[in-house]
């Protein structure tokens, strides 16, 4: 099966992981079913494309490589119930990517990540901690990103596949 997105063109979704987001993302409550699309040129970022409206697409990413410390958030009982998690079962976290302001690089929303359970159910959760910014930089326009030989360290996570 193929769907068409204005930015990504035709997408073959047969092998794409499907996510069910009961109640949708906040502000996008009408869209509950998404495909997670991987394209080499966008790695480590991935596209979340609405199954019922392929023009609606979000970019998401595992935020850990962009952080000094592992990204850990607390799930509420409501989150765990909706995600249908087993006792002690964890989730993977995806951060939504926002366009940068005034020509700056895109930013990561660490205040409202998407928690993804192994069963394919996902939910946007709210993080109250003041340590979790709404717009975490993906790179600084004022600082060169490349830092010599050690610079490739974050790239290992590119192999991480999920859902």
């Amino acid at each position: 099966m193929r769907i068409a997105n204005g930015q990504l063109g035709e997408i073959d979704v047969r092998s794409a992981p499907a996510l069910h987001i009961p109640g949708g993302l906040i502000g996008f409550e009408d869209h509950e079913r998404y495909y997670l699309i991987d394209r080499e040129e966008f790695e480590p970022f991935r596209w979340l494309v609405a199954a019922d409206d392929p023009q609606l697409a979000f970019a998401v990413v595992d935020p850990d490589p962009f952080l000094d410390e592992p990204y850990v958030v607390a799930l509420t009982e409501a989150d765990r119930t909706i995600l249908d998690l087993e006792e002690g079962e964890g989730v993977r976290l995806l951060a939504l990517v926002s366009p940068g302001e005034r020509g700056e690089p895109p930013t990561l929303n660490l205040k409202g990540p998407i928690a993804v359970a192994s069963n394919g159910i996902a939910r946007q959760i709210l993080v109250y901690s003041s340590k979790a910014p709404l717009r975490h930089p993906t790179s600084s326009a004022h600082e060169p990103v490349r830092r010599g030989a050690r610079g490739r360290q974050g790239v290992g996570v590119l192999d991480r596949r999920a859902a």
């Binding site: 409501a78 926002s98 409202g112 946007q124 709210l126 709404l134 790179s139």
Partner: protein, 84 residues
């Protein structure tokens, strides 16, 4: 909008499963307790609105901008990451 006046310690019931209790009133602040089933999400309005607006912005991300930052990442690493 339904408007109710409640005293300290009094409750409001919403449906069969949600109870809101006025726990404390001090200065301009009201402390509320909320009893609700685990499946009901309870959030402060302002963070909810911030996420809604940021989601709306996120839906406008361009593939060009994403490709650029992906290329930077693939060549190196984010500057915030410390060597491990």
């Amino acid at each position: 909008m339904l408007i109710l006046t409640r005293k300290l310690g009094e409750n409001i019931r919403i449906g069969d499963n949600v109870r809101i209790i006025v726990l404390d009133i001090k200065g301009g602040q009201v402390k509320l307790g909320i009893d609700a089933p685990a499946s009901v999400a309870v959030h402060r309005e302002e963070i909810y609105e911030r996420i809604r607006e940021e989601n709306r912005r996120a839906s406008g991300i361009s593939s060009r901008a994403l490709r650029e930052v992906a290329q930077i990442f693939q060549k190196g690493r984010p500057p915030t990451r410390r060597p491990t």
